[in-house]
Amino acid sequence: MSYSTFNRKQFDSMKEPMFFGENVNVARYDQQKHPIFEKLIEKQLSFFWRPEEVDLSSDRKDFQRLAEHEQHIFLSNLKYQTLLDSVQGRSPNVALLPIVSLPELETWIETWSFSETIHSRSYTHIIRNIVNDPTVIFDDITVNTEITKRADSVSVYYDRLIEMVSLYNTLGMGTHHIPGKGNVEISMPTLKKALYLTIASVNVLEAIRFYVSFACSFAFAERTLMEGNAKIIKLIARDEALHLTGTQHMLNLMASGKDDPEMAVIAAECQEEVRNIFIEAAEQEKEWASYLFKDGSMIGLNAQILGQYVEYITNVRMQAVGLDACFGTKHNPIPWINAWLVSDNVQVAPQEAEISSYLVGQTDNNLDDSDFDDFDL
């Protein structure tokens, strides 16, 4: 089976599974198998923002006044986030678009991935504004071992799925001998397993891996430092909270069997592996926190507190996909972070104060003279 950009078969897309059914042909949204993805698209579009809207001129002065170990914390987090969004800006498209079978889900994947490219552009905006030579920072991302270690774990499931799907598209089902890799078995169950694990690892990326960085950015802002950066991170966090709902829905729909009965069997078989993906990521994030604070802590935050927060947030995220919490941390050690993560006070203009997803151009055309009866001049 090879991918077609406009599948000529006639079929009822309402009966297709989310993935590995027919390639999508008509991009139509008048009927939807899973309307949640259309709602996510609308929400994401209502969140649209641009990094240039946020003024960073005082961040430059703040940054120069930070102690050296605080600059290390700030820049390392930016590098890690740049890595994560580099992956997320392309991978949902590359890995999932060739196998998606529902128009609303296809468009959600594109909308989701696009919003990640805004995040990537905002890191350049931040870095350009606080240092004279951004190259030094960007170049370090591919050589710094602490970052590259993490690059391996965030990309391994995506890369494996992409490779298997490309074998499936070119060679079809069967066991194929790939030079340098040995035998690779391509069957529907192995493809679906690779997909399920990929979605789980993406959920972990967006629901856990970003949060150490978020906590540090907001801890600086609590001291009224790097506040422009915090405003941007708040917008990124709002997007990521929406994205994690997208992957939670995919995982829960798959596990429920409502979408594809075979996927429910695979989800049950993979439960232990998925648990381990969460636990392994949490351990890596705790290690990352130690690396950040290797030369000294910052006011209000240290490696131990951040480690407890990672455990706490991992418990919250595991429970959201139907897994038992695996860490003993029962309380959020930094509850002040929620006031920064809340999206209803993300505000860029006064008319948007009441509702964060303010819609532009929502005028009422159904007016007649009687609507002005109350007006006195």
């Binding site: 949640i36 709602k39 996510l40 929400k43 966090a237 709002r238 909270a241 929406l242 994690l244 709902t245 939670q248 829905h249 829960n252 418990n315 919250v316 429970q319 959201a320 139907g322 919490a325 029962k330 309380h331 959020n332 509850p335 929620n338 993560l341 809340v342 999206s343 209803d344 509702i355 964060s356």
Partner: protein, 98 residues
Amino acid sequence: MTSTSKQGTPSKDQVHRVLLGKQQFLVTEDEPLLPQLERAGIHIEYQCREGYCSSCSIKLLWGQVEYPFEPLAWVHSGYMLACCAIVKSDIEIAFFHE
């Protein structure tokens, strides 16, 4: 969000009991559970407060809640989203880790 509740309907001043372990709180139907529990000094994890991030998901052991609008987050059976659920009867809740 346009409010659909009419003034003067019997439900407006209805008070319900919320059990959480050995604690008990009285809540109204005027606003979701989360802000009412916060005022009572109970910390519930939250993030978006708009029903899409699922951070405020808690166990609903028994009782009725309603959502004025359908939340975007997946709500597992036996759970509720504190940020947007209106309590409609006496209920018992628990945190996920208890």
